[in-house]
Symmetry: C2
Subunit: 321 residues, 2 copies
């Protein structure tokens, strides 16, 4: 695939925060884009106006039910599979959530892609496939892969299936292992959660864990650009890429930044323990030199990505008042 070719591309989860940004980029490159989204966490309003953009369509469907969307795979040059349970913590309460919406849904998406001879399948995986890594920054060939969350287990399962489909049917697979992705339109994640908590109680901000969790945060635009660079410039049977920044930032620093942006009055309270929740991996920093060798570089550091996302959140909140 060149991202510039004229055959339609499918984006599952295309109404989500990352998906809708990807959709806009694909449209800007001239692609016809078919979005499949069950709108469970995606939002119709994240997408450009369907009446104003004839090359864009939205099918409201669940990836677990191919009968409701399979025709959209016909003639597609690529399937970008982003749809998933987006909330890692939700999965810790019920393992079936990530099994159904991650593992099983990805199997159905792959089977549908195969039946329609779609030549490329691009999957958004996660750094959590590494479990608690003993090597930082963690390279793509790190092992063993022992995820600590059901979300991570589903991402690993999906990666393995992508690899098997690639080898069995010649589908070219791209596995993108994300750091924490932040940007506009998020409906989950640490910055979203912090603002949500302060909206409910402006006097205190509860931080899960001891605040020392230290992770890499990548802006949505850097993330999407990285995926497009990889899709344009590599074509192995299976292409695995980390996507992250070179730096980390702690939950404590993020909390302090959010409180400052919120007026500086809230008291920060830590629930304690090194992990924010069962299955939380408190350290995360990905080696990104593989993708950088293709010419991609993140424009925002983790600190800058957090700052920008906080600014946007404050602006959006003020605009909504």
């Amino acid at each position: 695939m060149s991202s510039h070719d004229s055959a339609p591309v499918v984006v599952t989860g295309g109404a989500g925060a990352v998906g809708s940004y990807l959709v806009r980029e694909l449209l800007a490159r001239g692609s016809t884009v078919r979005v499949i989204d069950n709108l469970s966490s995606g939002r119709r309003e994240h997408l450009p106006s369907l009446s104003g953009e004839p090359r864009l369509s939205l099918t409201v469907a669940d990836v677990r039910e191919p009968a409701s969307y399979a025709e959209k795979f016909r003639g597609a040059s690529a399937v970008w599979h982003l749809a998933a349970n987006t909330d890692i913590r939700l999965g810790s309460a019920d393992p079936r959530v990530d099994f159904d919406h991650g593992t099983f849904a990805t199997f159905e998406a792959l089977e549908t892609a195969r039946r329609h001879d779609v030549p490329r399948f691009l999957f958004t995986s996660s750094s959590v496939v590494y479990g608690y890594p003993s090597v930082l920054p963690t390279p793509e060939d790190y092992g063993p892969l022992l995820p600590e969350s059901f979300y991570g287990a589903a991402k690993l399962a999906a990666e393995g299936m992508c690899s098997a489909f690639a080898h069995a049917y010649g589908i070219r697979a791209y596995l993108f292992r994300f750091a924490n992705i932040i940007g506009p339109g998020m409906t989950h994640g640490v910055i979203y959660d912090f603002f949500e908590k302060l909206r409910q109680d402006p006097a205190r901000l509860e931080v899960l864990g001891d605040g020392n969790q230290s992770k890499s945060y990548l802006r949505t635009e850097d993330c999407v650009e990285g995926m497009l660079v990889a899709a344009d410039r590599t074509s192995d049977p299976v292409n695995v890429f980390n996507l992250g920044t070179h730096d980390r930032i702690t939950a404590r620093e993020i909390a302090e930044k959010v409180v400052a942006a919120h007026g500086g009055r809230a008291r920060i309270e830590y629930t304690g323990g090194s992990r924010g929740w069962p299955g939380d991996v408190p350290v995360q920093l990905l080696a990104v030199d593989k993708l950088e060798r293709l010419g991609w570089h993140p424009r925002f550091s983790s600190a800058a990505a957090v700052d920008r996302t906080i600014e946007e959140t404050v602006r959006a909140r003020d605009a909504a008042r």
Copy 2:
């Protein structure tokens, strides 16, 4: 768990070639053993007589349907989950076979173990999680894990789920990555296939691929002993062990040994190509020093394991005449 404790243990796939050997060893160590097997490839006659062995029970049930066997998990000190599609090549024809009988079945087994507070879950994985490894012998921390078969994808998915359940619920997980296991009672695999082909046409033996596929073969008794040693002597949250021999043997050598044992008249014909079938990984040799440091050593080399298995097959065939 000590393998000697008195609480019952569950063995799924316990009527299979490896499972039934494990069942006998567990009984010999004093355990009460509850076998769950759908008898799709397992055989009732592999097990000791149920009337003669009051500590053994067999529930004919499919692991995908917990309602039909869940009560057997009650009070168990361990679940050994061996049930799976045993024929890698079958999965290459329909990806759903390994998804259903591997990935989904393992999820249900883990969920059932969790609901019944079973403290240990021991899973038989495979060397095929390594895909086509660039390092031989391949160590447990090898990455990336990009399986080339649906069987391998299901094993990797199951490993990830075991790891997540271990971290979320404190279930202790054991992941055993098998070389090719051979011994009595097999209903699939290269030696079984070769004899089956010669039974149908004694004049020629078709070998899939060019015969240069070179893999490690471990005897059932060495395999089961290795698992029991690991279960007795380690207790990390997640315990990953390779199980194999220090040597390899080619498909060509095995074919020549089988033909010689069959009277030496058959012509060997190769279908060509480096792989026996789509998803076949033609080289396999596992680093086993991690398990050897616990005191286990394979008694049979690959060559000796093949010789013994051929002898047994000839004897069983002659006895059946």
